[in-house]
């Protein structure tokens, strides 16, 4: 009898619990946070770009988390690759194998990005979104299902530069730059496009220095002595500021026309202040002062309020990356890596400069390119890009057929 009464009490209790559970709102089966692993450079000269990207990502994630994604939040953890391929690779492995991140993002180093793409993303089947490194090989011939790029790439840059040169009378070119993946990729891309548009153009010399070479004056004086019509500097953030500075010191400014991708970036021009060289041609996919859209103004205002300076292109790329992650998972409806990849292919997200599409065929974000020339502006207290020409993404990107061909050859 006693046993029966106990059983009865238990039954009532359980029934009651079920009733309460039924009244509560349903909890999604996978209500957990989405873990993002960031591998980027936070020490050494490239840290300025790594920090900028991280700030842009943080700003976006804070906005996204107010609403949440699939009932959870986006959380992230960072690793400093120190601009080294082997360190970046180990950290990406650690993030995937130990931290079980859902998506990997980063890095600024093209070599590291390629290594992570091949040895971690492809092997472990984890989506990897490259947000600053610009080698076209990342989504070109070395591209695959698990790698994406939210950075503009060297193919797009090369085409833009060639368009700029086509309108000028230059014939004798000198190529100089950083002796690593990015430097060579950008030089090849410019030359490939330029020799098509301008068959009589010739390279009269090439100079390669080690990435981050501090004193470029000996290199510039030697190039100057060869008297080229124009110099193509295939250099990134590491040596960029040094090139601009050395141009001023050697008096090259205004004597020999110069083109450098991201020369019009404010993180490079700002430290030089009113002493920045004028007349330098540059290409970039984002300016905080151009295009003058309401969404861009809001982004710049929020960014400035949070971090005290305007966003650079890495911040813009990283902000866009966060939108792809959030919208991708929302569209997929579940935290599943394969479904996320399917969802992101062809996805269009809102960014400060309008809708940006992730092209399905090669996983490359479609950005417009802005061609500009540096000019000192009293209002900005330094040099900014002027006479900006906008080239649409479709005009400067390799076609899906070209991508397929490049991947087949590999």
């Amino acid at each position: 009898m006693k046993k029966a009464r106990v059983l009865g009490a238990w039954t009532v209790l359980f029934a009651g619990l079920f009733a309460v559970a039924a009244l509560l709102p349903p909890v999604p089966a996978e209500a957990r946070d989405i873990k993002i692993g960031i591998v980027d450079t936070y020490s050494g000269p490239a840290a300025v770009f790594g920090n900028d990207a991280l700030n842009g990502f943080k700003l976006a994630v804070d906005e996204i988390n107010k609403q949440g994604v699939l009932g959870g939040k986006i959380v992230f953890t960072t690793r400093d690759e120190q601009f080294k391929v082997d360190i970046g690779l180990n950290m990406a492995k650690e993030l995937v194998l130990k931290e079980n991140v859902d998506v990997l993002v980063g890095t600024i180093n093209s070599g590291a990005s390629m290594a992570i793409s091949e040895a971690v993303a492809k092997k472990e089947k984890v989506p990897f979104i490259v947000w600053t490194a610009k080698s076209e090989n990342i989504t070109g011939k070395a591209g695959h299902r698990y790698v994406f790029s939210t950075a503009e790439n060297t193919a797009m840059v090369g085409k833009s530069a060639a368009v700029a040169f086509a309108q000028k009378p230059y014939k004798k070119f000198w190529i100089a730059g950083d002796d690593y993946e990015y430097g060579h990729a950008i030089a090849d891309a410019v030359w490939r496009n330029l020799s098509k548009i301008k068959p009589d153009a010739e390279i009269i010399g090439k100079t390669w220095w080690k990435p981050g070479e501090p004193d470029l004056i000996p290199y510039l004086t030697a190039i100057q002595a060869a008297k080229p019509d124009c110099i193509i500097f295939a250099t990134g953030g590491l040596s960029m500021a040094n090139v601009l500075k050395a141009m001023k010191t050697t008096g090259m400014e205004n004597k020999i026309p110069v083109w450098i991708h991201t020369a019009t970036d404010h993180s490079v021009l700002k430290p030089l202040g009113m002493n920045a060289p004028e007349g330098v041609m540059g290409t970039i996919q984002y300016h905080y002062y151009y295009p003058d859209l309401a969404a861009n103004k809001k982004f710049v205002k929020d960014f400035q309020a949070a971090y005290g300076n305007p966003p650079g292109f890495p911040a813009f790329n990283a902000y866009t990356t966060a939108q792809f992650i959030a919208e991708g998972f929302r569209k997929a409806g579940t935290i599943d890596k394969e479904k996320f990849i399917d969802a992101v292919e062809g996805l269009k997200v809102d960014t400060p400069v309008g809708k940006v599409e992730m092209r399905a065929c090669d996983h490359q974000a479609v950005y417009p390119m802005f061609l500009g020339t540096t000019k000192i502006s009293k209002e900005f207290g330094g040099a900014i890009a002027t006479d900006i020409i906008t080239l649409r993404g479709a005009e400067v990107m390799p076609s899906c057929e070209e991508i397929a061909e490049a991947r087949k050859q590999k």
């Binding site: 936070y42 020490s43 050494g44 000269p45 840290a47 300025v48 790594g50 920090n51 100089a176 002796d179 390279i203 009269i204 010399g205 090439k206 100079t207 390669w208 220095w209 080690k210 981050g212 070479e213 501090p214 004193d215 470029l216 004056i217 000996p218 290199y219 004086t221 030697a222 190039i223 100057q224 002595a225 060869a226 500021a241 040094n242 500075k245 050395a246 001023k248 010191t249 050697t250 008096g251 090259m252 004597k255 993180s267 490079v268 700002k270 430290p271 030089l272 202040g273 002493n275």
Partner: protein, 295 residues
């Protein structure tokens, strides 16, 4: 690709190399001095060079204009010297008797710490120090433009060298330091307070690192990571010149700086290898370095 090298081009390139060598000399003579007198392979020497550059920038900005620049050149090395005095009295003075591997590890750790402290103090942004107007731009040397600031460096380098030579051969403390480099026990045995001689030598070496950092600033962007590049070059220079030998540091710097700048002109695609090739050749022929090593 044809080689189109003129005499004027070669001369100007040689001079650029020489001016680069002046910076290398100032930094590596400090490293060499510390190596010679204290037997400390100070890997953190490059960090002091970087701190010298960042400090110079801060002082120049605070001072403003040309006055700020000169103030920076004079005060930044003193700030670095003060910092090194603190480091010497608190840390280094307890470690001189340790073996070299331990000292190498210790100074390496110090380099990482100073690197992070620099990032915490000044942030990751690039900085640029501007030389006074009369040192900006270039002047024609044999018809090719030559940066004015590099001419200035060509004047400063020998001044520092002569100053160092006068100090070490004409002053009492300089002579004691040189004696301590050869036989430190003997110096202690005749009643000289070796501890303070060592502190002085250390601070002087670090002062030179700071001076190099301040002087180099107008030619490049001041960034994190400056320490890594310079320390490798400085160690190579000290090694090919002869450990602890000041004139060796001068010879090493000239070879390193000039072989780089001439290499850039002769074979620009492979310019990186020239100074390192010079190092390999010298060490193959003379493993102890060009001049007499005090070790």
């Amino acid at each position: 690709m044809e080689l189109n090298i003129t005499f004027a081009g070669l001369t100007s390139q040689f001079l650029v190399g020489l001016s680069r060598a002046m910076i290398l000399f100032i930094v590596s003579s400090g490293l060499s001095f510390i190596l010679g007198v204290l037997r400390v392979p100070n890997v953190a020497h490059g960090s002091l060079y970087m701190i010298g550059a960042f400090t110079a920038h801060s002082i120049a900005v605070a001072g403003g204009g040309a006055a700020g620049f000169w103030l920076a050149i004079f005060i930044a090395p003193l700030v670095v010297a003060l910092l090194s005095l603190v480091a010497e009295r608190l840390l280094f003075c307890h470690l001189y008797e340790r073996e070299h591997l331990m000292l190498l590890l210790f100074t390496f750790a110090l380099m990482l710490i100073l690197g992070d402290l620099t990032k915490m103090t000044w942030g990751a942004d690039y900085r640029s120090l501007v030389a006074p107007a009369f040192l900006q731009g270039s002047v024609p040397v044999l018809g090719t433009p030559f940066p004015k600031y590099n001419l200035f460096l060509l004047g400063v380098g020998p001044l520092v060298a002569v100053g160092l030579w006068l100090f070490s051969s004409k002053t009492k403390i300089g002579k004691i330091a040189r004696a301590a480099a050869v036989d430190r026990e003997m110096v202690g045995a005749i009643g000289i307070n070796v501890s303070w001689v060592f502190a002085f030598a250390f601070v002087l070496g670090c002062f030179l690192a700071g001076l190099g950092g301040a002087l180099v600033s107008p030619t490049l962007s001041i960034t994190l990571g400056m320490d890594h590049t310079i320390i490798i070059e400085a160690f190579l220079i000290v090694t090919i010149g002869g450990l602890g030998n000041m004139w060796g540091a001068m010879a090493g710097s000239l070879i390193f700086g000039v072989s780089q700048s001439i290499g850039v002109l002769l074979w620009p695609q492979f310019a990186i290898v020239f100074p390192y090739m010079a190092v390999v050749i010298i060490l193959t022929l003379k493993p102890t370095g060009l001049l007499k090593s005090v070790w």
